[in-house]
Each structure stands twice: as C-alpha cells, then as structure tokens.
C-alpha cells in the first residue's frame, strides 16, 4: 500500500497514522510493563530469599510459621494437573480432529464443531463448579481414600477445558495436508487407518506438536478450576487423589486475603507469577517456532 499512499504530506493523515501505530504499539508496552513489574518485584523477593531455596526448597509455607519458600511443591502440583489434563485432552482432542478431518460428513461436522465451540466458551469457574459437584463425587465413589479436594478431579476438568483447543488446532493441521497425498495412498490400496496414521498424521506432525505444547501451556496457566477443585495444600506428591496447590491457585489464595504491597508475601506473588509467565512464554514461543519452522510446505 505504501507505494500508492501519498498521504504523508497531509498532516491530518499523518497524525491518524501515528495514532493507529500507538494503538498497535500498546501491546508491546503491555509486554514490557509485565516483564518490568515481574522483574522488579521478583528481584526484591530474591533480596530476602535465596534463589536456591526458592528453586530447590521442598516446602512452600509463606503464610505460616516457620516460613519456607521452596517452589517445588507448587511446581509438582502444577505438573500433576498438566500430566492429568494431557492424558484427557491430547488423545481425545487428536481423535476428535482425526474424526472431523478424515471421517466426518458435512452434517456430523456441523454438529460437532459447535459443541466444541460451546465447550471452549464455557467460563473456567463453571468447570470448577463441575469438578467439585460432579467429578469429585464420582472419583470418591471409585477410590475411597480420595480427599475432597484432589488433583485428579481438577486435572480431568482442565483436560475437558483444553480439549476443544487441541481438537481445533489439530483439525486445522490435518486439513492443511493436501488431498492428493491421501488419494495417492488410497489408490495404492491403503485402508483409511493406514492413510490417517502413516500419511496424514506424519505430514501434520508439526501442527499437532504445536497444538500439544499450547494445550500444556494453557493447563499450566489455568486458574479457577484448579483453585476450586484441587485445594490449597502445597504438597510434594505424585498421588493425584491428594489435595495439592498449583502456582496459579497460590496466587489466587494470597490475593483473596488483603496483602499490603511491599511485604514479603506480596513479593511471593510476583516470584511465582514470574516463573509461571516464564514457563508459559517459553512454551508459546516453542509452539510458534515449531509451526513456522517445521511446517511441511506443499504446492
């Protein structure tokens, strides 16, 4: 467009252009502000707590005496949710995508797509309610030792929550594989399973991988369902039937109380949030990188 636009010599046009640029630039300001705030407060936190205690300490007890600031229990809690929700969302999401792109008739697609969109649009607090009032009682019916707040219930609903995203991103990836590849395989006598598993899935692998990474990143950042269903007990455990606390749930727990700024407790918010932000940002960058770099390009 810029070749054609001769608007630079009109000052009204010029100012409008600058205004529009500023609106777009707000996103960069946002990112810089987030990073600056997290960095400053986290730096303040590390003035009082050593980095090694934070990263390798096995106890997280910032609100009770004796205080301890080891992030590992919160990380372990978050990882339990990630693993559990991935077990639900990745296989089912991929199966949905395969069904939608390889098998579904136009009619079936027109039913399933909206259902997935509704699932994706339901607020996370509703999933928290669902976990507490439906999933937890079901799990407790199966395993007597299950605590009222437990990682399994939260992980399952987080899985349901990210499933539509996995399905829709994988669907896009599968559909971008050209029909000629499928037709070539079919003409050699391959069955539909062989076409899906040996031709289409490998060709779409980068997109599927990116979808999985984004799903994990979403699960790490998920807050309300985890706060409501998984509990508030920093707990270094691998048992999904126990009460745990994730990084996000800790942030909510502290902000529900009134924490004056400047206190060490206030700074823990930012230290935990920095870690959360860092991990999710890396995963998002990885997903975008994989999608751009390894995407198969077809004519």
């Amino acid at each position: 467009m810029s070749v054609l636009a001769t608007s630079r010599n009109r000052w009204g046009e010029y100012l409008l252009g600058k205004l529009f640029f500023f609106c777009a630039f707000i996103s960069v300001i946002t990112t810089v502000t987030v990073i600056a705030i997290l960095a400053v407060e986290t730096f303040g936190f590390f003035q009082e707590v050593s980095v090694s205690e934070f990263l390798f300490g096995t106890e997280w007890r910032p609100l009770l005496h004796p205080k301890a600031y080891g992030i590992l229990p919160l990380l372990a809690g978050t990882m339990l949710i990630v693993v559990g929700s991935s077990l639900v969302a990745l296989p089912i999401g991929l199966a949905c995508a395969v069904y939608l792109s390889e098998y579904a008739s136009e009619k079936a697609r027109n039913i399933i797509k909206p259902v997935l969109e509704v699932l994706a649009g339901i607020p996370t607090v509703v999933y928290g309610y669902f976990a507490l009032t439906f999933v937890t009682p079901v799990i407790r019916g199966m395993f007597e030792s299950t605590q009222v707040f437990n990682a399994a219930s939260a992980a399952i609903v987080v899985g349901i929550m990210v499933l539509p995203m996995v399905a829709s991103l994988c669907d896009d990836a599968l559909r971008s594989v050209p029909a000629s590849l499928r037709e070539g395989a079919y003409s050699l006598g391959a069955t539909s399973f062989e076409v899906s598993a040996r031709i289409v899935l490998p060709a779409a692998l980068s997109g599927i991988f990116a979808a999985f990474v984004l799903a994990v990143s979403r699960a790490i950042g998920e807050t309300m369902a985890v706060t409501l269903a998984a509990g508030a007990t920093p707990n270094l455990t691998l048992n999904p039937l126990e009460s745990i606390q994730t990084m996000t749930a800790y942030i909510v727990q502290v902000s529900l109380g009134d924490t004056p700024s400047g206190t060490l407790t206030y700074k823990t918010l930012f230290a935990v949030a920095s870690l959360l932000f860092g991990i999710t940002l890396l995963m998002n960058l990885l997903a975008n990188h994989v999608m751009r770099k390894y995407q198969e390009v077809y004519e």
């Binding site: 810029s2 098998y103 062989e194 950042g221 909510v252 959360l276 932000f277």
Partner: protein, 297 residues
C-alpha cells in the same frame, strides 16, 4: 513354513486374511475416533444437565433482584449482574477503539519492517499469557500505582488488556478478508489512505470485526482470576453508580458460592451459572446474527 508359502492357494488365503485384518483395524480405528468425539458431546450434556438440575429451581425474579446474603433464601445476583454489565460496557469502550485501530494499523498502514514483525509476534504471544498474569499487572499498575483502588474502571482496564490481542487478531482477519481490488480502485480515483480505510475497508470489514469483538467480550465476562487479583469483592450489597465504585461480577459470585462447603450455596452457584450462560448465549447469538447479516450481503 517356506513350503506352505510356495503353495499359491495358501498365499492367497494368507493375503485375504491380512486384508481382512487391515480392514478390521481400520474399522476399529474409525469407531474409536467416533466414540472419543462423542464422549466430548456427552460431557457437555452432563455438564449442562448438572448445572440446570441443581440451579433451575432457585432461578426466579427474587434471585435476580436480590443482593448476596448469608441466608440462601434471600440471596441473589443483583449486584453481580449489574457489576458484570458495568464491567463489560467499560471494557468494550476501552478495548474496541484501541483494538480495531491497532488492527487497521497492522493491516493497512504498517510497513514491512522489523518493528512491525515484533508487534505481530508480540500480540500472538500475549494471547497465550495466562489470565492471572494480567491480574498481577492490573494489581500493580491500575490498582496500586495509578490508585484506582478496587474500582470497576481498574477491572475494565485489566480486562481490556486481556482481550486486546484477541480483538486485534480477529479484526486483522476481518480486514484482510476485504478484497484489495476495492482499495486499489479507491486509491486509483485519488482517495487518501484514511479515506480508503474509512469509506471502504471499515464498512466492508465491520460485521467480521464486530463478531470478533463480541466473542472477545464474552471471554471477558467469564474471566474470574484477574478480577480476584485486582480485588473485586465477593460481598457487595450495592450497585456501582460510576466507574470508580467497587463492584463484584457474576463469575466472582459463582466462585464465592462454589467455594462454600454447604450444598445449598452450590445450588445458588448453579443458578448463578445459568444466568452467566444466558448472558453469554445472548452475546453469541448477537455475534452469529451479525455474521449472518454480513455474509448475506
């Protein structure tokens, strides 16, 4: 074994068996995919049934017209409903112009430069930042640094930052869908850049932009974590009268009721969820209608 395979009849039988097995595997695979897909539909059904069977008998005019209360029979969502309406209106006022103008810049004005690429990548990454991080940002900047306290305005500004990437991305798509022949024709008869955008690109892209904005706003309506971060209250017995008033919102009220141990409050939460879903459904219906009118033309 080798002897058996030399026999043509045996070979044929083996090939037929192999083919049968391959088709069986293929059939099983298709059915497995279908079953897993249907399980998602079933889960949605269970979720909705659970919410409606729990909450529907609490849903009446009294529920909509009452403030929250310790007593289940007297409790309602009046302040939460008004708080949500305030929040979403202010959020729309802030995020709509910024998001749309930003998208116009990126699609119509931006040179292909390093800075443009940085802005684009940055917006894509912002869309993936957990909402609670926006809450932290809102707490530090709007609530504490700018001294907006726990006001609707602080909430709306936080929400605006949260949904801006979504608005920009969808508005960009809508603008990109406008055929460039329209722009070229306008430029050819001497229109300036802004005239092209205002008179041709925006009207053409408007249905798509509005659809995206409404969907982004419905995301803001359901968000809970950032509001808790900036200190939206759980017990509010008044309606906000200005942007500087304290407030609560529907998802906060639902969170509060759900986190109580008593089953009656869970049922209230379910009733609150029905109200929330009704609001969301209305907004989505409007979005679908606008998209439909836009494509019909």
């Amino acid at each position: 074994m080798t002897l058996a395979n030399d026999n043509p009849a045996n070979q044929q039988a083996a090939a037929a068996a192999r083919l049968k097995r391959r088709h069986l595997v293929s059939w099983a695979f298709e059915k497995a995919c279908l079953t897993l897909t249907l399980s998602a539909v079933v889960v949605l059904g269970i979720l909705l049934w659970q919410v409606f069977s729990d909450g529907i008998h609490w849903l009446d005019l009294q529920f909509l017209q009452s403030f929250p209360s310790r007593f289940v029979e007297k409790a309602g969502v009046k302040s939460a409903l008004y708080g949500t309406l305030w929040l979403v209106s202010l959020t729309a006022l802030i995020s709509l112009p910024i998001g749309v103008l930003g998208a116009i810049y990126l699609e119509e004005y931006a040179p292909t430069s390093r800075l443009t690429r940085i802005i684009e990548i940055n917006i894509a990454n912002l869309a993936g930042v957990p909402s609670i991080v926006y809450g932290i940002l809102g707490l530090a900047i709007f609530v504490r640094f700018m001294g907006l306290e726990r006001s609707v305005l602080a909430g709306a500004m936080t929400m605006s930052l949260l949904i801006l990437p979504v608005i920009v991305i969808s508005a960009k798509e809508a603008i990109r869908a406008v055929p460039s022949s329209i722009r070229l024709a306008a430029f050819a008869v001497g229109a300036t850049q802004w005239q092209v955008v205002r008179a041709h690109v925006l009207p053409e892209a408007l249905p798509g932009i509005l659809t995206g904005v409404i969907l982004a706003l419905s995301r803001a309506i359901g968000e809970t974590a950032p509001l808790i971060m900036i200190g939206a209250l759980t017990y509010v017995a008044f309606i906000p009268e200005g942007p500087m008033d304290e407030f609560t919102a529907l998802p906060i009220q639902i969170f509060n009721w759900t986190s109580r141990p008593q089953a009656e409050f869970h049922e209230l939460a379910a009733a609150g969820i029905i109200v929330l879903l009704a609001v969301l459904l209305t907004m989505n219906a409007v979005a679908v209608y606008i998209r439909y009118r836009g494509t019909r033309r």
